[in-house]
């Protein structure tokens, strides 16, 4: 019986690992075989780019060793748009990525690159106004990268005073679900001091960091076979309760006992004194009696 349960448990493990494999197919990395059965469930993809006035550089951090020969990938591009306060949205940069289509129909975005347009003179002025008014700098992305803008734009905003450091530091976290963008978190990469001080950037160039996030899989609820539980229970029963010191166990008896003893001692000492005193008294009284 025990063996059977064990067998069952093992088969369950195998089965569950099979399922785990399926879900692992959603990995970002092109190299499927290298990662078979591997653990990472969260697929974070970091990209950082910085644009300088002269030329736009893209520095993707992840490089692939080789690409899949049966390539179903397609390049997609989607634009980042921005708005200053209540102004209308205008293009501010372009994300380009590869859309990988998996055999089971799932799609994932890989190799995200970002090129940020520089602020024009007008935009600089608008941004300065935002800084003065402590107003919002807003960005938006299409909610679907394959057929932008999809259903709706995904909007994020930040108080403009949070961005300037030496340059303009920005940090994107794009939450993806397949080819859909759920939400984008936008802000400065670090802390934003409060109260926010008015500070103009030294350089009007963006320092962009981008993280692509897809959803994490919840860990399985641990299932214990009865054996483990039973064994534990038995152990738990056998295990003696933690040894407490003598004092911890019997203090409630010891204190009164101590008091009684103390009482007795004082009584005894009194008694000891009393006879002595009595004798002395007697000695004194006897002469007195004699005197009578």
């Amino acid at each position: 019986m025990a063996k059977l349960t064990l067998l069952f448990f093992l088969s369950f493990l195998i089965f569950s690992s099979c399922i785990a494999f399926q879900s692992d197919e959603l990995l970002v990395d092109d190299d499927e075989f290298g990662l078979e059965g591997a653990k990472p469930r969260s697929t974070d993809l970091h990209t950082s780019s910085s644009s300088s006035p002269q030329q736009q550089q893209q520095t993707p951090t992840i490089r692939r060793r080789y690409s899949d020969p049966t390539d179903l990938d397609s390049k997609v591009q989607f634009t980042l748009e921005h708005a200053f306060g209540d102004s209308d949205f205008s293009p501010a940069g372009t994300f380009s990525a590869r859309l990988k289509t998996w055999s089971h129909g799932g799609k994932t975005l890989t190799k995200l690159r970002f090129s940020r347009n520089d602020f024009s003179a007008e935009e600089k002025e608008a941004f300065k106004n935002l800084l003065k008014g402590d107003d919002f700098y807003r960005i938006r992305l299409p909610s679907n990268v394959v057929s932008p803008p999809g259903r709706e734009f995904v909007i994020a905003s930040v108080r403009a005073r949070c961005l300037p450091r030496d340059g303009l530091d920005e940090h994107f976290i794009i939450h993806m679900e397949g080819a859909n963008i759920l939400a984008v978190s936008y802000g400065s990469p670090g802390a934003c001091q409060y109260p926010r001080q008015l500070k103009l950037p030294a350089k009007w160039s963006f320092n962009s960091h981008t993280i692509l996030k897809s959803s994490e899989q919840a860990p399985r609820t641990p299932i214990f076979t009865e054996e483990i539980l039973g064994g534990e229970n038995v152990e738990g029963e056998v295990e003696p309760p933690p040894e407490r010191s003598f004092w911890a166990k019997y203090w409630m008896y010891l204190i009164p006992l101590g008091l009684v003893v103390m009482n007795a001692v004082t009584q005894a000492s009194n008694m000891a004194e009393e006879p002595a005193g009595g004798q002395a008294g007697g000695a004194q009284m006897q002469p007195a009696a004699r005197r009578r």
């Binding site: 402590d134 978190s185 400065s188 860990p219 609820t221």
Partner: protein
């Protein structure tokens, strides 16, 4: 010295007596349970026999119940499921209560005396249709008179004895709608009348023994029908045509079919749109035209004739046979604060059998329904009693010009609950009262002492129990030191506000919402929600606290809202206003003005927000924080969550300075093909968090990410939004999010593959616990997510703290990138859940318990320690000392942990917790069809002595000791003296 020893011993003993769980005799001491049935839809009287007089009712809360006609108590009741609405009730064979429910697909028979189910038949249905129940009146056990049920396109004949389906007939013809099933008494022919596409009337004659169609007649009516119908006799019905201006009498005597048209304008001068009232009167029908009720008599040849007309606001009962083949009906109308009950004969409307005038509470509103019953008086004449249903859903029995009993059935449909303090007690108390209470107090304690020393006789035990239930002063209407006495304010669906006392659950006051302007469009607003408006403390002590009741005129989302401010102490409405815009969301702000009135923002459908109270002081407070006010909206149907910030004042003629426009800051767009929002939840705004940090076993600190702006969102795949088991595990997944509502950042996102809703969640401090179904494991699961702040993690160093080099006092802004991490763990849970709550205490020190409303309508208290994400399989010694329980895959359900003990809160919908002044104790109020209240102490009452503590024993001991000291002192003095004299 001996005294000290004795005292210490006594103290030990008294502390050892403190009990740590609920014993049998403690039930009902602090808790109470009230049983309700809901607004009555149908009522059937059962008064023939000499035994108990009873009335069988079915209600809008899907309850079928038998009530005592003498006292209004419930003999028995059954709460059917939420989707099992009752369509009809009848009594068959004089001993079974027959109910038809679920759109005519479930027919059940209940034993009349005790409510046991006798049989249940599920009937085949094919389409949505009216469901009609006709129960034969005769008492003979005879298969010739089966119960005729129409529902879902099929006509069934069911034997009343065992529920066997005798025959069934298919009426699922395209466009055919059955309107009436009639069976003339003594006849074996059943007439089934229906309309095809509301333009052709069809009558089937069916043999009641075999179910075969004997004859069928149809006739086209050129104008078309409106669908309203009234059957006036066994061979005639009256319908309204589609223009609602012509009454058509349809006669189907002996298989023929005839129409007779009578324009309303012939009957009454000022014609308008007519409406047929549902009251069943023999050879007569009631029509409502231009707010007047007309009684139209139907002659032998279908001739219509107006015999009487009444003003509006009249409620009528069905007619009832009284002696000599005559039928009578009751009508009730209002006049000021009185109601008039009249019973008239149908044939002679001038002959008023009964005329009674009864004083009626204004806060019960209008009469909605009347059910009449007759009885034979001691002088052999006819007596009548009437059961009336009022606008506030209360149920009253009228007899002999008086209200015999009343039931506040509005409390079965509580929509929102809040708590309020009672007024402070007066200082001056008369001396006699004190003496009386002192004597009583002593007597009680002597009794208790007897009980604890096992000297009490059985009578004494009863007296002790009574004393405990009365528990001196727990029902007083003043505030107490521990905060145990409070008012529970419950808003009900009909718009009535009740104040219940926590001591015994009695109604302290009640108030029906009124429309402020008495406009025709909105006669009675329905209540939506309840907010604390003014909680005086600090500098407004003289003000009475008040609550804000937000109501709405009509069910439409754009319907104008109504605000009403109610004084909590007196239950009087201070003011009410028609706010002229719709109410989508009410947001209490964390600011109060100088009179402690809380500022509220109300969002309307246009996207504007309005500030209340409309005072210049409130406006100036709001302007100061204008930059920092954010709000969000959840569009569950579109799968979009939007964040907004204040922009400026409204423009336009109608706008005032308290109206503001907003601007969209962020959006979260869930892909419509893969995710659908099923649950959103935030923390309670008034929750108190005692400690920001959590000390680990390895003397490590974890900082809780305690933010008021976190939103928990759960989404499922659109396919998985249906019932559990309707999809395969591969098709369904559940994703949960924690979203910052200021910036729209997703702080935590976790997907559960192969899981399905419904999701029930509770959010407190820095954790969320949610309950859902795991399709792969075929079990319910509970997952806990705790979110911790990493940015303050460096503040562990003592030196840093001493030198002030920490960022603990730095203001926290949402625009900083949050450095958080989450811990999460899942457990199986054996039960399906209706609602989850968490206990809340005054300072948040006491450990928390989850209150789980189970499918069995009970409340289970589960320690938060069981859903700790840090539980491991083999906790180390240090972890055990910290109180970490070894990991198990299933959460335990301990039978003793049901706080409802033997009670069931039928139809449980919500649980509300409120702190008392005593840190250890929390108020718990659960509502559904029933109400239940209890006090809980999640970590035991560590800060007070129990009620059982015998003060008398302590007092007597002290007195005895003092006496002993005195006596021994006297004795020793004497001894010394005699010693000296020796």
């Amino acid at each position: 010295m001996a005294i000290r020893v004795f005292l210490t011993l006594l103290l030990f003993l008294s502390s050892a007596i403190v009990s740590f769980s609920l014993y049998e005799d403690q039930a009902g001491l602090t808790d109470w349970h009230q049983r309700y049935i809901g607004k009555v839809k149908h009522a059937v009287f059962h008064t023939q026999k000499t035994g108990r007089k009873r009335v069988i009712v079915s209600t809008e809360e899907n309850v079928v119940a038998s009530l005592d006609l003498r006292h209004g108590e419930i003999f028995w009741r059954h709460v059917l499921g939420t989707k099992d609405a009752i369509d009809g009730v009848g009594i068959a064979l004089g001993k079974y209560v027959i109910t038809l429910s679920s759109e005519g697909s479930a027919l059940r028979a209940w034993n009349l005396p005790d409510g046991q189910m006798v049989w249940e038949t599920s009937l085949h249905t094919a389409q949505h249709s009216k469901s009609l129940l006709s129960v034969p009146i005769n008492l003979k056990v005879d298969k010739d008179y089966p119960i005729i049920v129409f529902g879902g396109g099929y006509l069934h004949a069911v034997s009343a004895i065992d529920g066997e389906v005798l025959w069934k007939k298919d009426f699922t013809v395209e466009g055919f709608e059955v309107q009436r099933v009639l069976q003339p008494p003594g006849s074996s022919i059943i007439y089934v009348l229906g309309f095809i596409n509301l333009s052709e009337a069809v009558v089937y004659q069916i043999d009641s023994k075999s179910g075969e169609v004997v004859a069928q007649k149809s006739m086209v009516f050129p104008g078309g029908f409106s669908g309203e119908i009234s059957s006036v006799s066994s061979d005639k019905v009256v319908v309204l045509d589609s223009t609602r201006s012509i009454l058509v009498t349809i006669g189907f005597i002996d298989g023929g079919l005839s129409f007779q048209k009578t324009p309303i304008s012939d009957l009454v001068e000022d014609s308008g749109k007519a409406e047929i009232l549902s009251a069943l009167l023999s050879n007569m029908l009631a029509v409502k035209v231009n707010k007047r009720t007309l009684f139209v008599k139907v002659g032998g040849e279908g001739k219509l004739e107006v015999v009487d007309s009444l003003s509006d606001e009249t409620a009528m009962s069905d007619s009832l046979p009284v002696a000599d083949d005559q039928e009578a009906f009751a009508s009730v109308h209002h006049e000021g604060s009185k109601i008039h009950l009249m019973v008239k004969l149908v044939n002679e409307l001038d002959n008023v059998l009964l005329r009674e005038t009864i004083q009626m509470d204004q806060h019960r509103g209008r009469v909605h329904k009347v059910f009449m019953n007759n009885y034979i008086r001691t002088d052999r004449s006819n007596g009548f009693r009437a059961l009336i249903v009022m606008e506030d859903h209360s149920l009253l029995l009228l007899q002999q010009g008086a209200i015999v009993w009343s039931r506040e059935e509005g409390l079965a449909s509580v929509t929102d609950v809040t708590t309020a303090e009672l007024p402070l007690g007066k200082d001056g108390v008369s001396v006699s009262k004190v003496e009386h209470t002192l004597f009583e107090w002593l007597k009680g304690h002597v009794l208790k002492l007897k009980g604890s020393l096992l000297l009490a006789s059985p009578e004494d035990v009863v007296a002790i129990q009574e004393l405990r239930v009365k528990s001196s002063g727990k029902n007083k209407l003043t505030r107490d030191h521990n905060g145990f006495r409070k008012l529970i304010l419950a808003l009900t669906r009909p718009g009535k506000l009740f104040a219940l006392h926590t001591g015994d659950g009695r109604i302290v006051w009640s108030m029906l919402l009124k429309s402020p302007s008495n406009s025709q469009a909105c006669e009675r607003p329905n209540g939506i929600s309840l907010y604390q408006w003014q909680v005086p403390h600090h500098h407004a002590m003289d003000e009475n606290p008040s609550v804000l009741v937000v109501g709405k005129c009509g069910s439409d989302s754009s319907a104008p809202g109504v605000l009403s401010f109610v004084d909590v102490y007196t239950g009087k409405e201070i003011s009410s206003s028609d706010i002229g815009h719709s109410v989508v969301q009410v947001m209490p702000l964390p600011f109060t003005d100088s009179t402690e009135q809380r500022l509220h923002l109300i969002a309307d459908t246009v996207g504007h927000v309005h500030l209340y109270p409309k005072t210049s002081e409130a406006l100036s407070i709001f302007q100061r924080e204008f930059q920092n006010v954010y709000w969000y909206t959840v569009e569950a149907d579109d799968g979009i969550i939007r964040g907004h910030v204040m922009k400026g004042s409204c423009s336009g003629e109608t706008a005032d300075e308290y109206c503001f426009t907003t601007r969209e800051l962020w959006t979260v767009v869930f892909p419509s093909e893969s995710e659908k929002i099923i649950s959103t939840l935030t923390r309670k705004p008034n929750e108190v968090v005692h400690t920001q940090a959590k000390v680990n076993t390895d003397q490590d600190l974890l900082y809780k990410y305690v933010s008021r702006n976190l939103l928990f969102v759960a989404t499922v795949s659109p396919k998985g939004a249906g019932e559990i088991g309707s999809v395969t595990p591969e098709e369904s997944s559940l994703v949960v999010y924690l979203i910052d509502t200021i910036t729209g950042r997703i702080l935590h996102r976790l997907s559960h593959q192969g899981c399905q809703g419904p999701v029930h969640a509770v959010f407190s401090e820095n954790w969320v616990v949610y309950h859902y179904f795991n399709l792969r494991a075929h079990k319910y699961e509970v997952t806990v997510v705790e979110i911790y702040d990493q940015s303050r993690a460096e503040n562990k160093n003592v030196w840093k703290l001493i030198l002030g080099k920490h960022n603990l006092t730095a203001p926290i802004t949402s625009y900083s990138r949050p450095e958080v991490f989450t811990k999460s763990q899942s457990y199986f849970f054996a039960q399906s859940v209706k609602t989850i709550e968490v206990t809340s205490t005054a300072k948040g020190i006491t450990s928390k318990q989850l209150l789980i409303g189970t499918i069995g309508d009970q409340i289970l208290a589960l320690d938060k320690r069981f859903v700790d994400p840090r539980r491991t399989l083999n906790p180390s010694q240090a972890e055990k000392e910290e109180g970490i329980i070894p990991l198990t895959d299933t959460l335990p359900i301990i039978p003793q942990a049901y706080v409802t003990h033997s009670h069931k809160v039928e139809g449980l919908r919500g649980i509300v917790t409120a702190p008392s002044k005593l840190e250890s104790t929390t108020h718990v109020f659960a509502y559904g069809v029933d109400l239940f209240y209890t006090r809980l102490a999640p970590s035991k009452t560590y800060d007070s002595l129990t009620d059982d503590f015998s003060y008398a024993l302590l007092l007597i001991t002290i007195v005895a000791l003092v006496a002993a000291i005195y006596i021994t002192w006297v004795l020793s003095e004497k001894k010394e003296l005699s010693e000296k004299w020796r």
